[in-house]
């Protein structure tokens, strides 16, 4: 078990809570709008960008944001018109981004490879600092404000994008706003959870909550809480067993999901 100073623990806990809220809130919309494959590629693009930043000695966060937004701008229009099937996106873009990330890391200086690079891959408790907390606080607040301001539009699009258009909503700006927010969210959560597993924090909490409710308001409300629990429990596992944080969060949230499926009232008869 690792023993860390109080201040570092506090930074990690606050960071985990913010990442949990931001990722799972975005996840609610990504999952319901069937954009999981695109989001998955964006998270791995963030990983590749971050790795390139490390090699070129450019801020990895800026590069992560740049890469994931670039993927969104490239794939977004193709997915939007259903010209690309989800499996195709996953098969090509996921492997491309992962390969690029690993090649970039291969060129990273040896010292960086030992700590920062591994943090980018699997996440690190020590990766978070005060500026990350400030960035995550701003992002989480922005997501919450936007979700409240445009709750009608997002709900209508989550139900059916075509029917939202038919009711007179111009859905395209909201679609790209969501992709943009996803790009920033995965990039900012990269240090804690790692590029390979950040998507678990986007998909798993909302999928867990969805097992217990048909009410979208409750799902939007409880997904961030579930995200916080997954993050904190993941960090606890990481402290106790010295596991990478990303892996711990992914393992805990997956087990939690399995339990939720078993006890889901949606699957009970009578």
């Amino acid at each position: 078990m690792i023993i860390l100073p109080y201040q570092i623990i506090l930074t990690v806990v606050i960071g985990a809570c913010l990442a949990g809220i931001a990722c799972s809130l975005i996840g609610t919309f990504i999952v319901r709008m069937k954009l999981s494959s695109l989001g998955f590629c964006m998270s791995h693009a963030a990983f590749a960008g971050s790795a390139l930043g490390l090699v070129l000695h450019i801020n990895p966060l800026s590069m992560a944001i740049l890469f994931s937004i670039a993927v969104a701008l490239f794939l977004g229009p193709l997915v939007e018109k259903a010209k690309l099937h989800a499996d195709v996106i996953l098969g090509i873009m996921f492997s491309l981004m992962l390969s690029l990330g690993l090649i970039f890391l291969n060129f990273a200086p040896e010292t960086a490879m030992s700590s920062t690079a591994m943090g980018i891959l699997w996440g690190s408790i020590l990766g978070m600092n005060t500026s990350d907390i400030i960035n995550l606080t701003i992002l989480t607040s922005l997501i919450i404000v936007l979700m409240i301001l445009f709750s009608k539009e997002f709900k209508a699009i989550m139900f059916s994008r075509k029917m939202a258009e038919a009711s007179g909503i111009n859905t395209r700006p909201f679609y790209y706003l969501l992709l943009f927010l996803t790009g920033i969210t995965v990039s900012l959560s990269l240090k804690l959870v790692g590029g390979l597993l950040v998507f678990a924090l986007i998909v798993n909490p909302t999928s867990i909550v969805c097992q217990f409710s048909y009410n979208i308001k409750k799902i939007i409300l409880f997904s961030p809480l579930c995200g916080i629990v997954c993050c904190l429990m993941g960090i606890l596992l990481s402290f106790l067993f010295d596991f990478p944080v990303g892996s711990s969060i992914a393992i805990f949230s997956s087990i939690f999901f399995g339990i939720a499926v078993i006890f889901s009232p949606k699957r009970k008869r009578g």
């Binding site: 301001l149 709900k155 139900f159 075509k162 038919a166 009711s167 007179g168 909503i169």
Partner: protein
Amino acid sequence: MSNHLKYNYIIELSNVDTIYEGEKIPAIRDVNLKIKKGEFLCVIGPNGAGKTTLLETINGLLKHTRGKVNIFGKEIRKFGSSIRKEVGYVPQGFSVSSLMPFLVKDVILMGRFGKIGLFKSASDEDYLKAKEAVKLVEIDGLLKKPIGKLSGGQLQKVMVARALAKDPKILLLDEPFSSLDFKASAEISERISFLHEKKNLTTLMVIHNIPSIPKRCKRIVLINEGMVIQDGPVNEVLNSGSLKFAYKVRK
């Protein structure tokens, strides 16, 4: 929709083609259609004739590739979203996942979301209109049910209520009776006819089952292979050779 009084036809299509992406042959071609405010019109034709394409071209969900589509005197290409705020649309065979996390009452209110506009939440009037639509379609008992748990017929009724909740000026219905039993079809047909009479609601209905054409419908458009092959009074179209030709009836 400030220029409602400035147009001669509420729906006007001139030489319209719509080609799907990746296709060479238009799904509808050279369509000319003029519909006056308050008309009740049915569109008939065999499978794959282009009926749904026509409806989706009219409300701009499908972009036409040639010609002009004007609704309320405005081009759908330029003013699509604002026009659709006044157009109720019931799609054909709409289905949802059984785990879809929305309740029926939420889905019906969503019909008004475009009309409510950005940065505003649903007002008392919005809830009242949604309630009126629910009452009209008689689905009070379904309101708190998850939308994914409804039968095909119930979902169809909900989609009709959603379209009516908008208090539309034009109602586009794509085979609204396809999942309904005989009794429910007759009831919904009666409600739509009632609305048409009461509100002078311009109604365009795609229909497969010719005997189900509502009595208030005075005009039929017959489509075959993407083209309007006959457009006229109900009896004239139904008794014409074009109908037999379109459906390939030999005797």
